[in-house]
Symmetry: C2
Subunit: 347 residues, 2 copies
DNA sequence: TGAGTTTATAAAACCGGTTTAATGTGGGCT
DNA sequence: AGCCCACATTAAACCGGTTTTATAAACTCA
């Protein structure tokens, strides 16, 4: 590959001049510019990305940090990433998906600063996320998607849904239909999103003057089982043991389908004997399920766009004030939810 | 941020020695190693990624190049990326998702070599893909997912499904059920995948001793409409105008759901009056649709894994021989397909 | 006309690492 | 003791750009 040196020689100018022609940081006369570009074209010269990054201390790459371990993206992350990509695309940034196995990261020979200007961190942990600690310590600009734990909340910018409010909304909706014993299959414990939703779920009961039923809040394990499998297993076990349960809130679509399957295998009709609500939505898919699945339209793409825009703005301005944006989401009731067949309490 | 210089000074050794401690390229005595690591820890030193990349001419980053324009990932790309990520993860590579708007790429000041060691290119164009040309010219190692156009096929490594065979299989399956007028809503034109599937579709007719019906092969436009919308629009128009059509093959799930919707709005029952087959599959989702949707299980994750493994191996060995891997896929018939209600030809 | 200022380019220092060639240093062998 | 060699470490060159400082030419304006 031709270097800036070669081009300079071919055009009969100095390195600095060639650099200026490409970076436009200093005015160069029209004729010299022409001559340099000509030479560059002839040699098929392209500035070396790393050399440029090293000298200018900027990579125009932003990182997307998902939780460690052989993690797999789901539809939610997909939509989110599409949003991030779109904003990156518009602002000339590239996106680095950061999943490096802890094994690699811990080896001395792989230890290195991250090759990004800033990072978007997903699924913050409820107990002082190590990734956030690290970025704060090294001064890497960051934006979190989802509420960070209390200790970091005032220090970092983040984008989130009003998870507590949404969970309360879903729960209230079911309570108003007459359900009293609602099973909540929540996101993995130790994530703030799970905390917030659990909080909203309980709050809705209290606001309705009811006590939340005990033992009805389960968390998907951090790993070892798929959402679909967990939905099936948990719903099967709970519905069999506690026939009083008339409704289930599932963390996402796959989990909800696991619940559908469990209901089928137990001979429970939906929504006749069991109502199901998912904490996700797909305008095309959900209506086609039988029965159509009620969900929460999360606008993950919007979440991604906001986060990326926030980060890029932070990089541009150098201002790292802790901002917060809440993206609205809507409940979308569908046929999978109805009043329970037999009102358990006819007061 | 502390530099290697600072660490060297603190430990009382030279830059080169510190470098060797971190890269392990040269043996350093135990005591010196200890002293250097100690100093590094004290200064919170991490080698600078860009400087290291510049000097060693390697980034340990591989690129994933999807088609330009505000492109959006779908479930297929998601699964594929999960596969790529998994292999990257295991081999200590990072993944750079490359979508830079043509506007940015064309500006002189943004012109630069790509910051990757090698690249995975998706959805090759049927007419000499410019991205492939470019990588071949600059000598960037690459692996293509999907068959490259004829002119490149012998020069690059690629991973693919047997698209022609699969399309033939789907078509034959429908022909054997008694369908004669099958509408094929294909991927966008000018992609090799569309060519191959069209070829398989026609081939199946011929092998059955039949002529493929004219005007039954439509391509989704490259942009401007979603798969779902195109499925609905195309199916609505065609089914209304040509009542002889008794089956539709749709390129993916969203398009198939568009067909479902079209059938519903025209009052056609599935599979009674119309059979539907999708060129994608989801073991959890498809069975829950009404009726359960027949599909082609593509193992996109496998595709991604193979491609990444191939590329990383190529980087390791320096051998850029053009290899090909075909990943098997299976037809999954479900209730959306059955014999046509009235055999159009009772021969 | 000549001092003062602006403008275009060149030369050199720098970014933070890796790598090569040079320099000691001590051990083994005769 | 003297020679050679292996080994650990250092000094310096290098990777390919950007940026600062210096210099030469051109342009004002009294």
């Amino acid at each position: 590959m031709a270097t800036i040196e070669d081009v300079a020689r071919a055009a009969g100018v100095s390195k600095g001049t060639v650099s200026s022609v490409f970076s436009k940081k200093r005015p160069i006369s029209k004729e010299v510019t022409e001559r340099v570009l000509e030479a560059a074209r002839g040699l098929n010269y392209k500035p070396n990305y790393w050399a440029r990054s090293l000298a200018s201390r900027s990579t125009r790459i932003i990182g997307l940090n998902i939780r460690g371990e052989p993690y797999r993206f789901g539809p939610f992350h997909l939509a989110l990433m599409n949003g991030v990509l779109r904003v990156c695309y518009e602002h000339g940034y590239r996106l680095l998906v950061n999943t490096l196995s802890p094994g690699y990261l811990s080896q001395v020979e792989n230890l290195a600063s991250d090759p990004v200007d800033g990072e978007i961190i997903l699924d913050p942990s409820a107990k002082g996320d190590a990734r956030i600690e690290d970025r704060l310590a090294s001064g890497t600009p960051l934006v979190v998607i989802g509420r960070p734990s209390a200790e970091h909340e005032a220090k970092v910018s983040y984008v989130d849904h009003d998870n507590a409010g949404l969970a309360a909304g879903v729960t209230r909706c079911l309570l108003e239909l007459g359900h009293r014993d609602i099973l909540f299959l929540n996101a993995p414990e130790l994530r703030t999103v799970a905390e917030d939703r659990a909080h909203g779920y309980r709050e809705a009961y209290r606001k309705a003057g009811l006590e939340p039923p005990p033992q009805r809040l389960l968390h998907k394990p951090e790993r070892g089982t798929s959402s679909h499998q967990f939905g099936f297993d948990a719903a099967s076990a709970m519905l069999e043991r506690h026939p009083a349960i008339t409704a289930v809130i599932a963390d996402n679509e796959m989990m909800a389908l696991g619940v559908y399957k469990a209901a089928e295998s137990l001979g429970l009709s939906i929504p006749g004997e069991l109502s199901v609500f998912a904490f996700s939505d797909d305008a095309v898919l959900f209506p086609e399920l039988s029965p159509p699945l009620a969900g929460v339209r999360q606008h993950a793409e919007q979440l991604g766009m906001e986060a990326a825009a926030m980060l890029i703005e932070q990089l541009r301005s150098g201002n790292s004030a802790a901002r917060r944006t809440l993206v609205p989401a809507e409940l979308v009731p569908r046929a999978s939810c109805s009043a329970p067949a037999v009102s358990p309490q006819s007061v």
